[in-house]
Point group: C2
Chain length 178, copies 2
DNA sequence: CATAGCATGTAAACAGTTACATGATTAT
DNA sequence: ATAATCATGTAACTGTTTACATGCTATG
């Protein structure tokens, strides 16, 4: 079975929101899909170039003085490719939870390090839950009538529930280990 | 900052349980750390060879007739390397939830495909929750007095809670989309 | 005039998957 | 006999991160 490159669809998807530059896309990623998807800079620009070559996006250069921005726009073919991918069932995820891996061998770890790891995780999950809560609030007040609202909401809701249940797990874990 | 190869520590960690062959390790992975960690075959054998070269593990060949098995044993240096890694805080995970990515652009998807994806996810999460439940039961009856018990339990407990909250999310999502 | 942010990209190295290749042993 | 499982590995490809490289523009 051929492997499917998902970075390309993340990029194509973002370009359906509006035409933008590579730099814009970095920021857009952080504002939108960051809870459940991430691409590194090193992937982004080469992917945009590749998609241009494949005619799934087009470029227009916009210059402001000496500086030029390359604005990418998705083509009809690009949108079709995205829609085709959207219909394909997701691969079963192959999980990589470093914390669990460390904890599984926790009896070999130096004293206190397990608890330290869990407290760090707790801190991150609290931040994630707070952020999701904020995003949901923002979505409800600004985008409630948008046809995309339900879909956007569901992704953030998933992030929120995950963070919350991880916080619950942290409490249990700290109780058990102390 | 240098990147840390985690596959090597998964391998070293499994070898602390008991000496085993590459083939054994594949099975051991499925029985133990599969809920939160996975390595492909293509990683495993080269990694064992590499670790041998670095003297973090040793090999002894065991022959049964014409067939030979290579049994790997962790060395003192290997155990030290593992313990050192166990003390290092985990990297913040960079999430890759394909389902969320698809759903985020769900308004562009063909009719019914979003719901199909969620139902598949629901099915997988139910299977995962059931498996975790079974593993917990097994742990409690067979390993309750093992000093590793608490750590093993916590990893499975995390998997169970995650699966459960995802099932809750599936219910909400299906309700919203129907 | 220094600093932060805007803007685009490349190169090297490493990680990871898939498919291929080979052959022995055990159970049906 | 034949199928499943034991057993070890390689090669090719693709994905991904990190660090590097360059230079402009706005703000204090």
């Amino acid at each position: 079975m051929a492997r499917i490159n998902k970075a390309r669809y993340a990029v194509l998807g973002l370009l359906t929101l509006e035409p933008m530059s590579g730099y814009d896309m970095q920021k857009a990623m952080h504002k939108t899909i960051n809870h459940f998807w991430s691409e590194s800079d090193g992937q982004l620009y080469p992917m945009l170039a590749k998609l241009t070559q494949e005619k799934l996006v087009t470029v227009t250069e916009e210059s402001q003085g000496a500086r030029t921005r390359k604005i990418y726009t998705i083509t009809k073919a690009g949108k079709k490719a995205l829609q085709k991918w959207l219909a394909i069932p997701a691969d079963p995820p192959s999980p990589r939870f470093e914390l669990s891996l460390k904890l599984f061998f926790g009896h070999l770890a130096p004293k206190g390090s397990n608890i330290k790891h869990i407290k760090l995780h707790q801190h991150r999950m609290q931040a994630s839950a707070d952020l999701c809560k904020q995003v949901i609030k923002h979505l409800k007040s600004e985008h409630a009538s948008d046809p995309k609202f339900t879909y956007w909401y569901l992704t953030v809701r998933s992030g929120y529930l995950n963070a919350k249940v991880q916080l619950k797990w942290c409490d249990e874990a700290l109780e058990l280990l102390k």
